[in-house]
Symmetry: C2
Subunit: 346 residues, 2 copies
C-alpha cells in the first residue's frame, strides 16, 4: 500500500536471498502457479518469517510490474454491448467491484478478426493483470485464444470447451426447472420446449432443467432445438413444434429472442397468447419487456454476476489457483402476461 514510501520494506528479492533460491522460485511459490520442491518451500517459508516479508497486492504490483488494469472483453456486436441490459449491468457490477479494489477496468469490444488478434496480443503481452471474457459463442476461436493466454481469466458463461478457465454463470438448469414447475402448477399440461442450438452448453443445461421438472411426463416429441440464438431460428423451430404437436398449451423457449420468434409464428397461425398458448423465455432482456404480450422469463442478477466475475479474476491475480472453478448464480422467474394469470394449483 504505502511501500513507495517505506524504503526499507523487505521484498521477495530479500526472501530469495535468505532462502537461497531464485527470485522466480519465490514468485512461483507465492503465486501458487507451479511446483516448487518441498525443500525450497520450507526454506522460503523460513525466509519469509526471517525478513518479515508481507506480501501485499500493491507491493506485488510493483514487483511484478502489474498494471492494475483488468480487461472486460466482449465478443458481441458493439450495439448490443450498449443496449443489452444484462451485458451493461454485468459490466457495471464488475467495474464497481474492481474499482473498489483500485483496479481499473478496460472495456474492449471485439468487432473484427483484426480486433480479436489485437486484443489477444494485448492481453497475452501483459497489458492487463486479468481478463473477464463475455462471449456469445464458446466455439469462437477468438474467445478461446483470449481465455487461454497466461493472463488470469474468467468467463461469463458455462465452462469453455477443453479449458480450465474459471467461469461464473447464471443457473441455466435451475431457472428453467423452476419455470417449468410453475407453469405446470398453473395448469399447463402440454408444455413444449423450444431449445437453443443443440450443442451449446447453455441450451443443453436449460433443456436439462425442463426435462428434470417434467420427470416421467417428459416427451421428446415436444422438444425442438433452434439452430441459432436468432429470431428467425426461433420462428422456424416454433413452426416445427406446432406441426409436430398442435395441441401444446405452453412453450418454454431457451431465450427471450427465441420466444419472440415463437410469438410471431403463433400470431401468424391465429393462436392467442396467453389464452391458447403460454410463451416464456430466458434472460429478462429488453426483448421480454417489449414483446406483445410481455414475456414471462428467467431474470438474471447480472450486476451480481459482474461482481463475482471481478472477484474470481482478483483472487487469481492474488495468486489463488482457480482452474476449473465455476460459480453458479441463482436467478428467478418473472411472471408476465404471456403466461396469463398465475394460479398455483398445488
Amino acid at each position: 500500500m504505502d511501500n513507495q514510501l517505506s524504503v526499507g520494506r523487505p521484498t521477495i528479492l530479500d526472501v530469495a536471498r535468505v532462502a537461497g533460491v531464485s527470485h522466480a522460485t519465490v514468485s512461483r511459490y507465492l503465486n501458487k502457479r507451479a511446483y516448487v520442491s518441498e525443500q525450497a518451500a520450507t526454506a522460503i517459508d523460513q525466509a519469509i518469517r526471517e525478513v518479515n516479508y508481507v506480501p501485499s497486492r500493491t507491493a506485488r504490483s510493483l514487483v511484478n510490474r502489474q498494471t492494475r488494469a483488468v480487461a472486460f472483453v466482449v465478443r458481441e456486436s458493439p450495439t448490443l454491448f450498449f443496449t443489452d441490459p444484462n451485458l451493461s449491468k454485468m459490466a457495471i457490477g464488475a467495474n464497481a467491484a474492481l474499482s473498489a479494489q483500485n483496479y481499473q477496468m478496460l472495456f474492449m469490444i471485439i468487432d473484427s478478426e483484426q480486433s480479436a488478434a489485437r486484443i489477444t496480443e494485448l492481453i497475452g503481452g501483459g497489458f492487463v493483470d486479468g481478463v473477464i471474457l463475455v462471449a456469445m459463442s464458446l466455439n469462437d476461436p477468438a474467445a478461446q485464444a483470449i481465455a487461454n493466454t497466461p493472463t488470469p481469466a474468467v468467463t461469463a458463461s458455462v465452462p469453455l470447451p477443453d479449458s480450465l478457465v474459471p467461469h461464473v454463470d447464471t443457473d441455466n438448469a435451475g431457472g428453467i426447472e423452476t419455470l417449468t414447475r410453475l407453469l405446470h402448477e398453473s395448469g399447463f399440461h402440454t408444455i413444449a420446449h423450444l431449445g437453443g442450438p443443440e450443442h451449446e452448453p447453455a441450451a443443453i443445461l436449460r433443456h436439462a432443467g425442463y426435462k428434470k421438472a417434467l420427470g416421467p411426463a417428459y416427451d421428446p416429441a415436444l422438444v425442438d432445438f433452434a439452430n441459432q440464438w436468432e429470431l428467425e431460428a426461433g420462428r422456424a423451430s416454433m413452426r416445427r413444434l406446432l406441426a409436430a404437436g398442435p395441441e401444446i398449451d405452453a412453450v418454454i423457449a431457451s431465450s427471450d429472442l427465441l420466444a419472440t420468434g415463437a410469438l410471431d409464428v403463433l400470431a401468424e397461425q391465429g393462436r392467442r397468447v396467453p389464452e391458447d398458448v403460454s410463451v416464456s423465455g430466458f434472460d429478462d432482456s429488453d426483448w421480454a419487456l417489449r414483446a406483445h404480450p410481455p414475456l414471462t422469463t428467467v431474470h438474471q442478477d447480472s450486476y451480481r454476476i459482474g461482481e463475482e466475475l471481478a472477484e474470481v479474476v482478483l483472487r487469481q491475480i492474488d495468486g489463488e489457483d482457480l482452474q476449473g472453478f465455476g460459480r453458479i448464480i441463482p436467478n428467478e422467474v418473472v411472471w408476465r402476461e404471456s403466461s396469463g394469470p398465475r394460479s398455483d394449483a398445488s
Copy 2:
C-alpha cells in the same frame, strides 16, 4: 531506438546523419510539432529522399513503443455510460473508427476520486497512445488532469478552460438558433429560454444562439439559467420564468432534462403543452422521447462525433499539432408533439 527490429530499413537516425542535424530536429520536423529552420527543413527533405526513408505508423509504433490503444474516458455515472444513447453512439462511432485503423479502444469510467487518479496515472504513464475524454463538467479537476497529460488528447466538449487540447462538439449555438427561428416561424412570439448553468460554456453558446435568432426582440426578462444540469434545477428555473413572465407561449430549454423539469412545473400549474406553451430541449436523449408529450429537441449526430474524436486523436498520434483545434459538428432540429403542429408562417 528502432534498430533492433528494422535492420535494413532506414530510420530517422539515418536521415539525421545525412542531413547533418540532430535526431530531435528530424523528429520535430516530421511530427510538425515545433519550428525547424528553413535550412534544416531543406536538408531533411533531401536526406529523406537520399536514404529512402518511409515513415509509417507501424514503424513509428515500434520505434516509439506505442501500445496502439486509445482510452475513451468517461466522467459520468456508470449507469449513464450505458443508458445515454448519445454517449453510447459516440463510443461506438469512435470504436469503429479506431478499430478500422487497428487501434484498440479502451473504455474507462471515472467513478471515484481514486479512479480519477488511477486513470490519470495510467494515461500519463504511456499506457495508451491517446485519449478521448467525455466529461460532464469542464471545471472538473479530474478531467483537466487527464486532458493535460502529455498523451495526445481530445475532448468531446467545448474547449477546456485554459487548455489547448483540441475538441469536437455539436453546434450548440447553431442548433438553438435554428430551433428558435423555427418556433418563431410557427407562430410562437413570447419565447422564453431556460438556460443551463450560466458559466458553463455549452449553456453560454446555447443562450447565444437563442439571442442571435431573436435579434432586437431578445428580452432578458424571458431568460433564466438553471443552476445545474438537473431535473430539479429545471423545475426551479421554470417556476421563476412563469413568475416573471406568465404570458410566455414557448420555452426553449438548454437540455432535454431541463425541459422535462419545465414540463413538470407546467403540468403542476395547469398549463397545457403544447396548447398553452410549447416546450423544447436539446440532446435528443431518451428524456426527449419518454417525455409527455415527446419533446421537440436538437438531435446530435453522436456516432459522427465519435468518429471525428477518433480522427483528431489519431492525427495527433501521427504527429500533427492540433493544439487549440476545434471541430463543430452540425445538428438538426427534431420537431415533436411538445411544439404542436409545425406551421411555417414565413
